[in-house]
């Protein structure tokens, strides 16, 4: 693509990601409604889809309040960090064979870096709020996110070993014969769990566990700044699903249909799966969550690397 076309495509990606995240707030509630045998928002517009617009208008007209006891600059900065980091993460996702914004030879590391920057949003939001709930929630969720970040990177390395590149385009092209979800099933499992914890979605939404911390790190946030935290969370969910599609399910590869359609199909199915998880699984206790990460997931991802290495070298040698 020419630079101008790519730039326009980038703007389309931006609009698409933000729009999808907004629609997801409605879609998730409808889907939860189906699974839990209730309605969900169904009054505004066809199937209730205009609920998104109504929510947006409501959030825009809320008091744009910055607490006088808070650290004002950091308080406003914190919710922007997660939105910017997550949106930048989309820059390296290949949506089709020639449909990408940036093909970096460190694409995967760029994605990991952007997810690690999202931690600041939570930490600084809690710190700047100067509220007991917010401090506790911020510290908790940051501890959770960093714990799961360690083996989030490790779980992807099995794929990198088999591909020999960090470029997401190369990773997809290496899956022509076999999607990596088969040889890297352990890696997929660990990445899935880490992805849920990293975007702190239910069942791992302990930072926002309303039964004990009211709303965690965003207790003092309201209006659009609160919405930006939510937008960041939904963008994170979409980004994780895009990554799982790219790395483990062959990205745009698939018969008959054009590549981007396959990509969208796979990603949407994964998003539905994440919503199903939310509907089906209860929340663990905080100490259980932390020991699950350090005691089981981290050794499992290391074991996966050693196993993959041994088998791959043995097969190549034989």
């Amino acid at each position: 693509m020419s630079p101008l076309a790519t730039a326009l495509f980038g703007l389309a990606v931006l609009a698409g990601a933000v729009g999808l995240a907004a629609i997801l707030t409605w879609f998730e509630r409808r889907l939860l409604g189906v699974w839990q045998d209730r309605y969900g928002p169904n009054r505004l517009g066809p199937l209730g889809i205009l609920q998104v617009v109504a929510d947006m208008l409501k959030l825009l007209t809320k008091h744009d309040w910055v607490p006088p006891f808070a650290d004002r600059v950091v308080f406003v900065f914190a919710p922007t960090a997660i939105v910017v980091a997550m949106l930048l993460g989309f820059a390296v996702v290949p949506f089709g064979e020639h449909l990408y914004l940036l093909d970096l030879n460190i694409g995967l590391l760029f994605f990991l870096g952007m997810t690690s920057l999202a931690v600041y949003s939570v930490l600084l939001g809690g710190l700047a709020s100067n509220n007991k709930y917010a401090l506790l929630g911020g510290l908790r969720s940051a501890a959770q996110m960093v714990s799961y970040e360690v083996f989030m990177g490790l779980s992807l390395m099995g794929v990198v070993m088999l591909t020999g590149s960090f470029s997401l385009r190369d990773i997809v092209l290496a899956q022509q014969d076999l999607w990596f979800c088969i040889p890297q099933v352990l890696g997929l499992y660990v990445f899935l769990v880490a992805g849920i914890a990293e975007s702190h979605r239910l069942p791992f939404d302990l930072p926002e566990a309303e039964h004990e911390l009211t709303a965690g790190f965003h207790t003092e946030y309201g209006g659009m700044k609160f919405a930006m935290f939510m937008l960041g969370e939904y963008l994170g969910l979409i980004l994780i699903c895009c990554m799982i599609t790219t790395v483990f399910f062959g990205g745009w590869l698939g018969p008959w249909l054009p590549g981007p359609v396959w990509f969208a199909l796979k990603t949407s199915l994964l998003i539905c799966f994440f919503v199903l998880l939310r509907a089906a699984i209860p929340r663990p206790r905080y100490d259980q969550l932390m020991s699950l990460g350090w005691k089981y997931m981290l050794p499992l991802s290391l074991f996966n690397l050693v196993l993959t290495g041994a088998i791959a070298l043995w097969l190549r040698g034989a």
Partner: protein
Amino acid sequence: MSSEAALWPFIVYFLAVLALVATMLGLSWLLGQRRANQATNLPFESGVLSVGTPQIHFAVEFYLIAIFFVIFDLETVFIFAWAVAFFELGWEGFLAVGLFIFILTIALIYEWRSGALDWGQKTRTGWKPER
């Protein structure tokens, strides 16, 4: 690949992201209502008036988690460097990284056995809970 032509679209994208965020903040500032009730400017504590300062002391486990995170993150970086050149390095690289992972597994086992990974009660620090 890092030629100027390939980077410009990304810069446009980055600026667009910044513009979007600025618009969201600016619009809500412009359109938002202004309220000044008696309790508007108080910290939220589930309807109870705030007592004391928010300068509470936290459990030391958070510090331990942060340190463990930094150290294991450094470890992953070494593994990143190995993974990308995996087939070129062959069995020699595999043995080198095997030793590397082995040493860090020892560290992990040590942490596990000494109870550093247990939240709350420390079981193996020589301290017994009173009955």
